[in-house]
Amino acid sequence: MTEIPEKTASLSGGPVLEPGHTYRSVTEKISSIALARRTPKEWWIGFGVSFLLMMLLLGAVGHLFMKGIGVWGLNIPVGWGFDITNFVWWVGIGHAGTLISAILLLLRQEWRTSINRFAEAMTLFAVACAGLFPLIHLGRPWVFYFLFPYPDTMRLWPQFRSPLVWDVFAVSTYATVSLLFWFVGLLPDLATLRDRAKRRPAKIVYGILAMGWRGSATHWHRYETAYLLLAGLATPLVVSVHTVVSFDFATSVIPGWHTTIFPPYFVAGAIYSGFAMVLTLSIPLRAFYGLEDFITMRHLENMAKVLIATGLIVAYGYAAELFMAWYGGNPYEQFLVKNRAFGPYWPAYWSLILCNIVAGQLLWFKRIRTRPWVLWGIAIVINVGMWLERYVIIVVSLTRDFMPSIWRSFHGSRWDWATFVGSIGLFLSLLFLFIRFLPVISIAEMRSLVDETEGREE
């Protein structure tokens, strides 16, 4: 932020903002995306496709509510399939934003500046998608309110020992806090848009959102305090959310679920998938809107490095599971490991190893890190891999647990797929709207970078 220390920690050299920019140029460049009178044709295409997918989600969920959970491929013993897999996957993706904004802020990583804004946006939308699944996976969604403590006539409240209730609170808290954090960050930029907007409707909308921000010194003072405090709060929150999600499994008795390493390993996985998703989105974005000056090669490289680190932690998680199965000597665990690797679901298992561990290693090479589109490909692969990881953990463990007599396999029905793909549509639609109407990069914070780069030139 403002008080940029002399030596700023940074993963690698290279500018975080190409030289030659002024307050004005930065402001103009970024705000013009939101304020442009004409919407680019490409935007319409992209949004159109996403919107159609979102409609697919609507249809799938409608069908689901009409007929019941049976339209999915679920059975006994596999009570959770795509639904919770998607949930965990989305929540994981939803971790990058707040992490970048909060933790990197506390770590004084100034390169976060140009990516945190849409990373946070991405977080919000991912969490929105995630929040959808616990609701629609209910057999009787119309009594979802049983999950909340509300003044009832039954004198009965949720069963607070259940990790599912923890989820409800963790995810909703995370959504709320992320939203607040994001909004606080947006406040000055909204003021900028308010003042730069030409048309009255725009002025009014941005004006309302800006809440009359006028950059008063005292306001800035409190603002920074609040922002730091929120960052401080968000940091443990981020860690807690996926920890709680991992409790869904870790606190159960099912082999492959009942695993003490889950919390750290889920969190690492979340960051892994989160950063992968940030790359997946930022690379096309910078290319299309010509933001290479702001999202520089250094950003991409740094994110790639974060991927290597978290990827290795995830790999360690897998290794630990294998080790514990062998070392713990629990026959069920040992069977589970065998079953994952060589049972009917071996393709899923090995492709997740391929996507999450092997693919990640390519990032050791600078020549790969500095080729945006190669990087992009790897990021996509990792996203797929992380989905498969959750699928393997959830489904494969359930298909064969304790009693062979009731073992059964699971295959997603076309409604499972429709719901999954549809949720991606929802995510992208929201993202497109965000790109169109809000500054994808924090203008106010870029101004600080301007100062800093000027400083460099001198």
Binding site: M154, R155, R194, K203, G207, M211
Partner: protein, 218 residues
Amino acid sequence: MQIFHRSTNFLAKLSIFGSLFIAAGLAGAAWEIYQSPWTTQVNVPKEQPVPFSHEHHVRGLGLDCRYCHTSVETSAFAGIPPVKTCMTCHSQIWTNAEMLEPVRASYRNGRSIEWTRVHDLPQFVYFNHSIHVNKGIGCASCHGRVDEMPITWQVNSLYMRWCLSCHRDPKPFLRPRDQIFNMSYAPPADQAALGERLAKEYHLLNTAQMTDCVTCHR
């Protein structure tokens, strides 16, 4: 340049902090509706094919509850009197009262009268009359002073909360077995002591079983 009028400042602040109060207000309203007679049907006399008056038959003529509700002591269902029961008297008296035509018709052509349920529990609640009357719960405790109702209505919400209030601590409501069907029974001054004694006698001291889910839901 100004975009907004002066007044908007006040409005803006109001909209933020006021919204909390508005939300609370709505919740309160919903809650009230849920309590209201419209939902619970409490104190709402029910339209009946024949305007049967418990007041007249119970207080006026002094009929015992069990004269009509025969199975109340032995069965889950208290029993609704077969038309024959009505006719035992009404074949002698009021034999051509206009009001009673549906009863006679029913008896003639063997098509039952369709009474409207006054106390209607959800299907997933398995209520048993016999155990309640055997454990010292008087009719009036739940049904109110039926002997003062010209047309019957419901006096309690029958909400689970209401059931639990007694299942958790029945002592204040317990009666000696001979007072169960006494409509005008008033608890004695020492109900506390009496309740204590009866609870022991009726084996109701440990309410764990009584507040257990499957006691009512299966």
